[in-house]
Amino acid sequence: MNAAHSSTGKAVARLSLRLYVVSGAPNSATARANLFDILSEIPDDSYSVEVIDCITDPRRALADGVIVTPTLVKVAPEPQRTVVGTLADRHSVLDALGFTPALPMARGADE
């Protein structure tokens, strides 16, 4: 948990994400790449990502209420947030994941 401190020094719960994709779909592939690109800037052990393929596990996706793909769900910490699309807009993704303005890389240095 040593890495689970933001730059303000406040302790936060470990980030838990789910990404619903369709394997082979271009939008899903892009979203996957974009997500890992964003996550590459925070320590590996501060988050976990579960990738669910709607083709191989349609019932899970149905039960979770996934309407479009790709869909990213922040399961923890509360509040739960959902982002749909290729996650092309880095800023809105970070915002939804609860990083702004905490992470310096999202907004540069604190002013």
Binding site: V21, C54, P58, R59, A61, V66, T69, R81, G85, A88
Partner: protein
């Protein structure tokens, strides 16, 4: 109009039975105009403005399929919450919660407002889920309702189009019967809409239209395209009623209605005589006339008589409450209250403007279904003509009559004619062509009086009086009196009464004179008979006298011959010297 109607009926009748496989919607009238329903295993697009009935249509198709054909189905709701849909469906009497357990699945496909969008997305994941679900429940029909709500978020027309094609291809490859609803602000020109391309893509396009005509809401439906099948191309009225959607086709398909020769009393003895026995059972009777000419009374008389015979009747009274209707008729000696109490007579009062002509028509149909009457009175049928524009209304009137006729119900309709020129009322003119009997009531103003007259304008297939009669309303009921024409003038009311009195006097005088004459003749006859008796006696005396003379003569001759023989014997003359 009649040729147009014929074309439509023909189109309905000749819609192919074979050809492409169809999936019945079981929506009243729709399967008729499409010759069997929507194309099975293909995609049907429902286009229409808000509140035009697309969602209800799609839902009813699924519900009917699930209930009547045991075809499981999936409803994908992009616009409304599935709980809302289920609640709405309950108002039509569909128990979706029950169906949902095995044969109906609702997929809530509404993105929560808190969802953040970042970049493009697609529906491939959802389709994978539906494929799986469809296999699990063996669904054959799928509805995508309000998909534009979701696709608009893509903000890219090309991407939207791609997703539409994705759904279309998916439905095709899965072999599912698909229904997609799409919005159109103005469904008269669907080609200008953003999903216009879909109309080229899909196999069947159905347009829904909702508009206001004379401030009354009118819904219509039109099949615009149906690949591989003929269909009725006209626009048909669509009604959303308490038990779902009804598409009004032009009533019974043919005019092959049994022609009854049974007579039904008009409720007025003299009128029955004029019609040589009454109305034909199952025929349509039009009673036209100016306000206050007793159209209502005349029509109610027939209904009252039917109930008195132990039959059933329905009266559809526009703009007059049932209680008022009964009270007013009682004042002219027609007591309907016992029939209302016994349930034989149903009086249904409606406000003309409360609903469109189509809704009125549907409620008539429902009443006929429920009550199964032998006599139907629509008073006045011109009220149907007040809503929904003249065309819709006249069709509704004609169809109402057709509907009743097809069930062998004797229908009496009244029609208000503003002035005495019968031809001015378009509705009445149109109805008059399908009415079998047309009775016209009018006023005759003469000698400071206004009196009602009755004429039978026409009556198909029966001898009828061509004379004008005076219609008299009294506490004891309705009666008809002869109308006198004297010196080229028609006499009614007091003039008729005076004329009748004068004629009575004349008649009495003539009768008395005849009586006297007969007495005289009888006396003369008696006298002659007496004389004949006297003469006969005289004749008999004469005959007796003559007979006596004859016999005396022959006696005398015999005596003389005997005397002669005695002399000869005494002389002993030679034998036979004589």
């Amino acid at each position: 109009m009649s040729s147009r109607r014929k074309n439509i009926t023909d189109a309905i009748r000749h819609a192919p039975v074979k050809g492409i496989d169809k999936s019945a919607t079981c929506i009243g009238g729709f399967d008729e105009i499409t010759g069997g329903g929507i194309p099975r295993g293909r995609v049907t697009l429902l286009v229409g403005g808000p509140g035009a009935g697309k969602t209800v249509f799609a839902l009813e198709t699924l519900v009917n399929g699930a209930v009547k054909h045991r075809e499981p189905a999936i409803f994908v709701a992009f616009e409304e919450n599935s709980r809302q849909i289920i609640a709405n469906a309950a108002t039509f009497g569909w128990d979706l919660e029950e169906l949902e357990r095995e044969r109906l699945f609702f997929l809530d496909a509404r993105l929560s407002p808190t969802v953040v969008q970042s970049g493009a997305f697609d529906l491939s994941g959802m389709l994978a889920q539906i494929s799986d679900k469809a296999k699990e429940m063996q669904a054959t029909r799928v509805v995508f309702d309000g998909i534009d709500v979701l696709l608009t978020l893509l903000g890219d027309q090309n991407a939207e189009r791609r997703e539409m094609y994705r759904i279309y291809d998916w439905l095709q490859s899965e072999g599912l019967t698909g229904i997609i609803t799409a919005k159109a602000a103005e469904s008269d020109r669907p080609s200008t809409e953003r999903y216009a391309f879909m109309q080229f893509m899909v196999d069947c396009v159905v347009l829904f239209h909702h508009r206001l005509l004379d401030r009354v809401s009118i819904r219509t439906v039109r099949v615009m395209k149906y690949r591989g099948s003929s269909f009725a191309e006209s626009e048909f009225p669509l009604i959303i009623s308490k038990d779902g959607i009804h598409v009004s086709t032009f009533g019974p398909k043919s005019l092959d209605v049994d022609a009854s020769t049974t007579r039904v009393s008009s409720g007025i003895a003299r009128l029955d005589t004029m019609l040589s026995g009454g109305y034909f059972a199952g025929s349509a009777v039009l009673i036209s006339g100016a306000p206050g000419t007793a159209k209502t009374t005349l029509s109610a008389a027939c209904a009252g008589m039917a109930c008195a015979r132990g039959e059933r009747a329905v009266v559809l009274s526009f703009d007059e409450g049932a209680a008022q209707y009964v009270r007013n008729l009682k004042s002219v000696g027609i007591d309907l209250q016992p029939h209302v109490d016994s349930g034989a007579l149903v009086i249904h009062s409606v406000r003309t403007e409360s609903q469109g002509a189509e809704e009125h028509l549907l409620s008539i149909k429902n009443m006929l279904d429920e009550h199964k009457p032998q006599v139907l009175v629509i008073d006045p049928i011109s009220a149907l003509g007040k809503t929904g524009g003249p065309i819709a209304a006249s069709h509704a009137s004609v169809r109402a009559i057709d509907l009743a006729k097809s069930r062998g119900i004797t229908t009496i309709v009244t029609s208000l004619v503003a002035d005495d020129n019968q031809a001015t009322e378009a509705t009445s003119a149109q109805i008059s062509t399908i009415a079998d009997t047309w009775i016209h009531l009018a006023y005759l103003v003469k000698g400071g009086e206004r009196n009602r007259t009755l004429t039978i304008v026409k009556s198909r297939g029966m001898k009828h009086s061509s004379q004008v009669r005076e219609l008299i309303l009294s506490d004891h009921g309705v009666s008809l009196a002869d109308v006198y024409s004297a010196g080229g003038e028609v006499l009614v009311g007091t003039a008729r009464y005076e004329h009748e009195q004068a004629k009575h006097e004349e008649e009495r005088a003539r009768e008395e004179e005849t009586q006297r004459h007969r007495t005289r003749l009888r006396l003369a006859e008696a006298e002659l008979a007496a004389r004949i008796t006297g003469l006969q006696r005289e004749l008999d005396a004469h005959r007796a006298e003559l007979q006596r003379a004859d016999s005396e003569e022959s006696e005398r001759k015999t005596r003389r011959a005997e005397g002669h023989r005695a002399v000869l014997q005494r002389r002993t003359a030679d034998a036979d010297a004589s």
